[in-house]
Amino acid sequence: MLEIQLSELLGASPEGVEEALGLVAGFDDALVHGFARLDPERLEALEALAAALAVSPIGEAVAEAVEKLTAGSVTEEHLAVLAGGRAALLGAVHDALLHSLDAALGRDRDEWTRPPAPPVSDDLLGGCRAWLHELAITGWRGVGYDLVSSADRVIEALFAVPALRRPAVLLDGLASELRAFSPVGTAERLPVRRWADLWSRALLLAQAGGRACAAEPAEEVSGRLLVLGVDVHEHDTAVQIQVHAVLEPSGGARTRLVRASAAAAKVDTIAGPAVWRLLSDHPVLLGALAERRVLEISGMPLLAGGDLVWQDGQAAAGEPADPFTTARVMLTGALAPAVPPLERHPVRIAEPVLLEGYTVDGDGFRLGDRVLDVDFDRLPSCGPLTSELVKASSACVGLVRWDAGRWKAQPLAVQGTAKRKPFEAHTGDWALGPTDPKVVKAEARSGDSVAVLRERAGRLLRR
């Protein structure tokens, strides 16, 4: 990302973003106090949301839902329509932001042209909808232990069906936060936007038929996969690594930006470098990350949204490949994937970039007269990146993200010089285990949590 590109990005203010987010905030506020207790002011905010969507395909349905709410009826169907309306607004915000990012970077993006997916299963999603309905009626302020615990059975049932992993992981993350805040009424500040995001997405995923959970259509691809870096996602009971890479398809087709993900269920006490052990079913992928090697893939499914469905057996590690070189040489010109319709939300924006020639200015990278804030909260504990290393760096491969009105850089790898010695660190460096003796020692002190819990599970679960 060049100075001129950053300047264009930070200087752009896509039209309508502020207004759309204002309407979203009105909906989010209704969730704080509960849809059973909507006062005139909150109803007005919902009417404004309906008015903004009036000319859209769901305009009529949203208007009717708000009308019914005004009359005091809060049904699952009406809530789902409102969640859809909120998602449509955030989808538009996402599109506007991503468009200005693509324009600044000069990045081409594929078009979404896929048909809707077939239904998956409905049996279990009813319980999910019922819990979300109850939450909306009660409002975050009214949430206590009993309402949180009533999600346990729903979540357990979802986890039993692999096709429903998305709602399961999402609901579990939300329930765990609500549990930590319970009784929520006594908390001074609430993550209002965040919880409304999670609630709305969950309700959309839980619509009858579960179409939203169905895998997109895939094509099979072969070629060389050059890793840029690893983004790590984690909550108490889930971890996911998302590898950003450039695919050089065999046969000479245009290079593409792709991702490869691997997720595992976990518990809160398995954290830090230990999470890699949960992903040991993918030794080729982890090996290539730890040793910074190119991956040769053949016949690997690639979803329309740019996600490879990783099959370790279809991959082989090749010669060493430096992610900084990949970023320098291949990022420009690679085709970015289309974003699946339901995933359009600003939180999903995570565009790989190379930043260099900057100076570290406070909590950001300065290029000329512009500063791109660095998201220091997104340096995962399973890898060697620390805020000190980022602050000492002179080049960075990272993801550009957007949250609460600000663009930020999330470092995935940094290079620099400290105490006259060059250093380099990547989030995936410890994929085969930590390489820092201090961390190895700390790990040894707390013992192998995965092994201890597996032993306990083996002894106590099957009796």
Binding site: A25, Y145, S149, E156, R165, V169, L170, G173, E177, A180, A187, R189, P191, V192, R193, R194, D197, L198, A215, V232, H233, E234, D236, A238, Q240, S261, A262, A263, A264, A265, V267, D268, T269, A271, G272, L279, H282, D307, P346, F376, D377, P380, S381, T386, R401, D403, G405, R445, S446, G447, S449, V450, V452, L453, R454, R456, A457, R459, L460, L461
Partner: protein, 178 residues
Amino acid sequence: MIEVVRDRSVTGGMGLDVDEAGWERRSAVRIVPPARPRKLAKVPFVELADGRLQGVVSSGSDISRVYVSSISAGSHAYNCRTNNNRPCGGLRGLPCKHLRALADEAVLQYGLERVARYLKVDVDESGDLVSALGGSPEPSDAAVVFSRFLRHLSYLELPGTTVPVPELHWFPAAGAVR
């Protein structure tokens, strides 16, 4: 009274720095601090849930036996039973060694401040949580806690997936203290 009483003012006292303006408008932010690493052999399961500090303590003598221990927030009523729902022999009007182990490990996992605030207890300079508790033994249902422990363990039996979970973009892996 040490830092326990220092008022962080927000998020139910989970010791999070959320003074940042605009925090309410953020989508992707870790709002519950990650558990700190600790040895799990003796106390494999600890949680602050349902108004209790509760967990499971491995028996020192029988590898297939565990104790289910809990301390209620506010009343500080405590209890300790085996997984077969027999009362713990060590519980004679004072918290047994299992309850002490539970409290110690909870402090390691969550930090003293968060545990003390959850239980609503004022801990003096010694930092000794258990002696600061004013409650007495009270029967409670060990089966509920034990089933939560089994559920906890069952996560490790779930197969992984390589189909992306885009919803996890809301859950960034946060840096732990190193």
